[in-house]
């Protein structure tokens, strides 16, 4: 059994997250993954942007960096390029990563830089009170979508897969153990890894969309998700309202910092 306290700044508790928020469950999955991957705390750097989920970095006992909205991946890129021996883990929300930070997300995936991104997707802007996000489903309500969202939404795993990531998975707060497993694999995979963690926000999404409290929203995750393996043998008609979970990409290809190291090794000592 893991002793969570060894990874927490317990004096910073209680968390700012609302009762029923899924972010705490995802954080535990993350800490279990760090524990399982046997990472040295001094060599872990957790970098977050701005949003409810991004407050996580204040609570965990690593090298932690709470940056500007949307820019966590860009700060993390600087850390990884300068100090490749660090395990750089990015904590971000759906708005943080795919709206304001969308450009950094696709370019980090394209570079295939060795970062592990844990994207807390609550399908809404939690911290600012429930405005529409790029992952808010079509027709769902938000404080800036009082008549329902009229925009199409991103499928984040598909987006980062297309951009060139080495490892892509989607899990949920309900399925906390598989989620841990995805994060362990993401940490182990050299290259750009992203794990999307669906995380219920009863306060700003659930309430407006009549999905009930945190427990009901978790139950909903159970009912409305289906593993990729099962989905493969099911007809499209049955998959209509389902969200598919699982590992979508797990491949090995040249990693950005390692490629740069080859250049350094080749050029170093050859004089300016």
């Amino acid at each position: 059994m893991i002793n969570y306290e060894q990874y927490l700044r317990t004096e910073k508790l209680p968390l700012i997250w609302c009762p029923g928020c899924g972010h705490g469950i995802v954080m535990k999955a993350l800490l279990r993954a760090v524990h399982e991957a046997q990472l040295d705390k001094d060599k872990v750097c957790m970098v977050s942007g701005i949003g409810c989920s991004s407050r996580l970095t204040g609570y965990v006992d690593f090298n932690t960096l709470h940056t500007t909205h949307g820019r966590a991946i860009a700060f993390a890129t600087g850390i990884k390029m300068a100090r490749p021996e660090m395990h750089v883990i990015v904590i971000t929300g759906d708005g943080d990563a795919s709206s304001i930070g969308g450009n950094h997300l696709i370019h980090a995936a394209r570079r295939n830089i060795d970062l592990t991104v844990v994207l807390f997707n609550n399908q809404i802007y939690g911290m600012t009170g429930g405005q529409v996000s790029p992952t808010t489903p079509y027709n769902a309500y938000a404080s800036t979508a009082p008549y329902g969202s009229f925009e199409n939404n991103f499928d984040i795993p598909q987006l980062v897969e297309a951009a060139g990531a080495s490892f892509v998975a989607r899990g949920t707060a309900y399925h906390a153990m598989p989620l841990t497993n995805y994060i362990v694999k993401a940490i182990d995979r050299k290259g750009f890894s992203l794990v999307e963690a669906l995380s219920p926000c009863p306060t700003t999404f659930g309430r407006r969309n009549k999905q009930g409290d945190g427990v009901k929203m978790l139950q909903r995750q159970k009912d409305h998700t289906i593993s990729q393996r099962k989905a493969e043998s099911m007809p499209d008609s049955e998959l209509n309202d389902k969200i598919i979970t699982g590992i979508f990409v797990d491949i090995q290809k040249p990693e950005c910092r390692e490629e740069y190291q080859k250049l350094i090794d080749h050029k170093k000592g050859k004089g300016a």
Binding site: F62, N63, T67, F75, A76, G78, M81, I264, H266
Partner: protein, 379 residues
């Protein structure tokens, strides 16, 4: 002394100066007239074991250099007006989180895409006030290619000493000027590195109040695990909105830079002892002023130049002292009058004239001779 002479542009000298200062991480996005800095460094850095990365934009470039600097790697970016605007939010972050780094802004005409290939001094105020909030900043402005080299080193030294971002405001004329430069040997310049903590990790306060107002800075990954945030924070680095903590933090920021103006501010005095017309200039404009001062002196006109080598914090006392015996002060600038406002705020009882040229063309000696002639007519 091991000197060698080279012909370089300001941009090339800036890149060389950064290497000499120990810069080993560069992130940037191409923009005229700064791109040669990136081009030169993409070649030099891997040879020195350093890292060059061309980012997807200026926002991420600024973010990446902050991340790299937190690991203890001296870092820099270079850009021009539009890119400088994009960097502002994260420049503010570096101020708040006290992360040393250097931002080179090669000034071109603006606003917007403006004059990509022409010179300007339009970003003086952007350097000080471009990001939100109220905070001190350090900015330098070179007037020659050799000084682009020297001031890049100085920018790193100041950023390391005060744990703050430092801006090098170079204008396009200096950036693209080719000049013969006598390169100094490494023994001829000092390289300053940030003070690191040496006590046990549990006792480390990354934002401690110290005698110097500059807390020691640990490298990420060196065994000191600490938290860095852009939110107001207490000495531990964790967010705090307590009125006392917040006021104390901002006052410390102010003290560590504005309170040390004397150590940061630098200027050159040229024929100033008996000057009755004092021309205050910086950047490329000072080169035309120098010529006019020399020719004026031959004609018996008592003209002198006070050349500002540092722009921020502003040289309040120095300017008021240097002009107190003058009959007139002239501030020529390639903008509509940015430094002249600072000058007017500290010069009393002496008329201060502005000469502003903002069409992309240099301020020439002829422009200045005419202007100074008119000033003499009025005296």
């Amino acid at each position: 002394m091991n000197t060698n002479t080279r012909v370089l542009t300001g941009n090339e000298a800036c890149a060389e100066g950064a290497m000499a200062a120990g810069m080993r991480f560069y992130a940037g996005y191409p923009i005229t007239p700064s791109s040669e800095i990136a081009e030169v460094l993409s070649g030099l850095l891997p040879k020195a074991g350093g890292v060059f990365i061309q980012m997807e934009d200026e926002i991420s470039s600024m973010a990446a250099i902050i991340g790299a600097s937190l690991t203890g790697t001296k870092s820099m970016t270079a850009t021009s007006g539009p890119g400088f605007s994009l960097m502002q939010e994260n420049i503010g972050y570096a101020v708040m989180a006290e992360v040393p780094c250097v931002i080179v802004d090669v000034m071109r005409g603006g606003p917007s895409t403006g004059l990509p290939t022409n010179s300007s001094q339009g970003d003086i105020m952007q350097a000080a006030w471009g990001t939100h909030g109220d905070h001190p900043i350090i900015a330098l402005a070179p007037s020659s290619v050799r000084e682009a080299f020297d001031q890049t080193i100085e920018a790193f030294n100041l950023s390391e000493r005060y744990r703050t971002p430092v801006i090098l405001l170079m204008d396009e004329i200096i950036a693209h000027l080719n000049e013969k430069v006598r390169m100094p040997a490494p023994d001829d310049y000092a390289v300053i590195n940030r003070v690191k903590p040496n006590g046990p990790g549990e006792d480390y306060l990354p934002y401690a109040f110290t005698d110097t107002d500059v807390p020691p800075m640990a490298d990420f990954g060196s065994g000191y695990r600490f938290h860095v945030t852009g939110l107001t924070h207490d000495p531990t680095g964790f967010p705090s909105t307590s009125h006392d903590n917040v006021q104390a933090l901002y006052e410390r920021f102010d003290r560590k830079i504005n309170g040390r103006r004397d150590e940061i501010v630098s200027a050159e005095y040229f024929y100033m002892q008996d000057a009755e017309v004092v021309v205050i200039a910086y950047g490329s404009v000072a080169r035309s002023v120098r010529h006019v001062v020399k020719t004026g002196r031959v004609q018996g006109k008592k003209i002198g130049m006070l050349r500002l080598k540092s722009i921020w914090p502003f040289a309040d006392k120095l300017v008021s002292d240097a002009t107190c015996n003058a009959r007139a002060v002239l501030v020529p600038e390639m903008n509509m009058g940015q430094i002249v406002r600072q000058v007017r705020a500290v010069v009393h009882g002496v008329p201060v004239f502005a000469f502003n040229k903002i069409n992309g063309a240099p301020i020439t000696p002829q422009d200045l001779e005419k202007e100074i002639g008119e000033i003499y007519d009025q005296l």
